[in-house]
Symmetry: C2
Subunit: 459 residues, 2 copies
Amino acid sequence: MAERFEIVEKALLAMLEEKKYSTLKDILVTMNPSDVAGLFDGLEEKQIPLLFRLLNKEQAAETFVEMDPEAQELLIRGFSDNELKEVLDELYVDDAADIVEEMPANVVKRILKAADPEMRSSINQILRYPENSAGSIMTTEYVSLRPTMTVEEAILRIRRQGVDKETIYTCYVTAKDRTLIGLVTVKDLLLAEDDEMKIEDIMLTNMIFVNTRTDQEEVAHMLSKYNFLALPVVDGEGRMVGIVTFDDAMDVMEEEATEDMELMSGMTPSEKPYLRSSPFDLFKNRIPWLMLMMVSATFTGLIMTAFEDALAAQIALSAFIPMLMGTGGNSGSQSSVTVIRGLSLGELEFSDIGEILWKELRTALLCGLSLAAVCFAKIWFIDHLLLGNESITLMVDLVVCCALAVTVILAKAVGCLLPLGAKALKLDPAVMASPFISTIVDALSLLVYFMFAKALLKI
Amino acid sequence: MAERFEIVEKALLAMLEEKKYSTLKDILVTMNPSDVAGLFDGLEEKQIPLLFRLLNKEQAAETFVEMDPEAQELLIRGFSDNELKEVLDELYVDDAADIVEEMPANVVKRILKAADPEMRSSINQILRYPENSAGSIMTTEYVSLRPTMTVEEAILRIRRQGVDKETIYTCYVTAKDRTLIGLVTVKDLLLAEDDEMKIEDIMLTNMIFVNTRTDQEEVAHMLSKYNFLALPVVDGEGRMVGIVTFDDAMDVMEEEATEDMELMSGMTPSEKPYLRSSPFDLFKNRIPWLMLMMVSATFTGLIMTAFEDALAAQIALSAFIPMLMGTGGNSGSQSSVTVIRGLSLGELEFSDIGEILWKELRTALLCGLSLAAVCFAKIWFIDHLLLGNESITLMVDLVVCCALAVTVILAKAVGCLLPLGAKALKLDPAVMASPFISTIVDALSLLVYFMFAKALLKI
C-alpha cells in the first residue's frame, strides 16, 4: 500500500514540474486531504503555493489542516487577505486553534484579523486553557438541543446547523443556562418510533463528561474506555463549553505513547517529526540526560576506586562486572517499564504499591535464582574448563552468582518503586526508566559484588 | 475522578453484601457498562453471577463484553442455555468473536451452539483470519446500500436495519456482487438537499479500504490518519466483508504501543493485565531475554580477560568502565527508540536509511564531543585534583575521553541501523532496543577503550 502510494506521489509531482495543471487538478479532486497534504512534503518552497492553488475551496482547507507548520506558515505569508479568509472560514475551530498555536506572533495577528468575530473569540477561548488540558484540544462547535424539542425538531435543527459541526452524531442537551443535562445520538433520533417524542424522554442522562482542566491523556483514555465518538467538556459551573472528538483522542494517544517512550530512553520529548529535526535539535533533546548520567557515574567510579585493591588481588573479578551491571539494568528496566505503562494506562495506581512490590519480589526471586544457577554452570564449564581460565576458582564463581541473584532482586525492587514514587510526587513516572535506573542499579550491583568478594574471598 | 469513582464502587459492593438488591438495581441501570464491568473486579467468584443477574438484558450484554475473560468464563459456565442465548443475541459479532477466542474449547462449543446460525457463521469467518489482521478485528455487521436507492430509501433502510449495527453513521454502497463501490455518511444523507437524490450521485467513490490480511497496526494508523469512524475491509476480489470501527482501532493503538514498550525493555508481550499475572507468568515473560543477555555478556567477559594485563598495569582504567558502557548504552538506546517509534508510526521507512544515518552521525558527533569535553574536565578537576587520585594521569584522562567520543558515535550508528535492519528482514524493530543494543555497545566500548589504552599508554 505505502509503496504503491509513493509511485502515485512521484507521478503527480512530475505533472507539477511539467505544468500539466488541468490533469493534476482532476486527479487531486479524487484524493483524500491527508494524502494531498503528504504531497507537499516533497515540494520545494516555491512550488507549495502553486500546488495549493490547484485545490478547490473545501479540499484546500481540509488539506491545509493536515500540512506541517512550516508549509502552513509559508502559505499564510503568501495568501492575500481574501485567500486567508476563505481558508479560515472552512476550518473547524479546534483545528484553527492548533494552527494558531504553532505560528509566530505576526502570523497569528493576521489570522485573528482575518477570522470572523465568532471564530476569533472561540480561538482565543481555546488558547487560554493550559497546554495538554481538555480545554486546549476541544472544539467549541457541537450541536446542542433543548429538552423540550421533539425528535422531528431536533433532526431539523441538525440539518440546519450540521454543515459547520465537526460531528453531528452526538448531540448535547443543555438547559437555558447552558448546563449539560443529557445527550442524544443521531442513531437514537433516527430509530425513535415516533417523531413527536420529546428529547427529554429519549435522552441519556447518566452523563460522562470532563472538565476543561482534565489532562488530555485522561480524556483519551475515557473516550477509549467508553467507546464514545465525543466527550463533552464542561466548565467549573457545569456549563457545556465544547467537545473532544475521537480523532483528536487518537492523536493524543499516539503523542503520549511517543512521549513516554522518549522519556523512558532519556530524551526530552519533542513534537517535531524526526525527518524535519536538525542534528542540533536532536542534540538538544538528548544531551541533558547523557550528561546527567555520565556525571552521576562518578559514584560507580568511586566504588570501583574504593575496591581497587580487591580488584588488583583478584583481577578475574573484573571480567564479570559488565555482565553483572547489564543483567541488573535489564531486570530493573523490565519492572520499571511494566509499572510505568500500567500507571499511564490507568491499570495501576499508587495504592497498588504493596501488591506490586510483593509480585515483583517473587518474580525477582524466580529470575534471580535461575539466572544465578545458569550463570554458575556457564562460568564453570565454559570460562573455567573449556576456555581454561585458571584464575576463575569455584569461590570466584560463587561470588559472581550470589551477587547476580541479589542484584536482580534489588534491581526489580528499585525498578518498580521509583516510578511509583514519581507518581506519588506528581512527577511523570516515565522519567524513572532504564537510564535513571541503570545508574542506580550499576552502583548497587558493584557494592553487592564487592561485599560478596570481601566476605567469600577474604580480600 | 478516579478516586471519587472508587468510593462509589465501595458503596455498591457494600449494598451487594447487605442484599439491598432493588436499590442496587436502580443505581446500576444509570451506570455505564464499562464502569459496571469494573465492579466485577472486586468480587468473589460466587458474587459474580449474583451481581450480573441484577442487570437488565441490554446492559447485561454490554457489560459482559467489557469484563475480563476469567469472569466471562465463570458466567458462561453458570448460564442456562437460555441465559447464554439471551446474552449472545445482544452482542455485536466482533465482540462475540473476541470472547470465543479467549475461551477453552468446551465453552466455545457451548457458545457456538447457542448462537443463531448467522452469528455462528460470522464468528467462524472472523476466527479464520490470522491473528492481528484486519479480518480478525472487523465486524461483519454494517449498513450496506445500493447505488440506485434514493436518499429517502436509504434513511428508511438505516432505520430498519440500524438497531443491530455497531455503527450506522458510515454506510457502504455495494454492487450486486458485493463489490465495494462507494460510501455515504448519515451526515451526507441528512444534509442532502433533496430526498429524491440517488445514492450514486452523492456517494464518495475515492475509497480508502483495507484488505482482510492488512496488519491491525496499519489499520489503526489509517483510521487515525484519515479521521474515519470506520474503515471498510474487502477480500481478495474487492468484495466488502466487514468494517473496523474507531473504538477497536483505539484498543489496537494502546495494545501495540504497550507491546513495543515491552519488547523494547526485553519482555515477551503479554495480553494479561499486570495485576492478574502471577509471578510465574511474569517470570516466563522476562527470563528468556535476561538469560540471553547474560550469556551473550560472555563476549564482554572475554574482552576484559584478554586485556587483563593492561588493566592490571593501569588499575585506574577500570574505574571508568561502568561510565563508558553506561553512556554508550544510553546513546544507543536513544537512537534506537527514536527509529523504532518512527518506523511503527509510519513516519520512517527503510528507504530513509541514508538520511537517518547521516542525521544520527552528526548528532553523535555533537553529543560525543561535548560529553568528552565535560568528561575530560570532570576527571581532571574532580577525580584528579579534588579527590586527589594520583593514578589518574593526563594520559589516562585522554584515553577515557577519546574512547567516550568514539563509543557514542558507534553506539548511535548501531542504535539506528539495527532496527532498520530488522525492518528490512521483516522482523519487529522493537526487539532491537536497549537490552540488545547495550550488549553490543558494551563489547564495542570495551574494545575501543583498550585500543586507546594500548596506543596512548603503551601498555
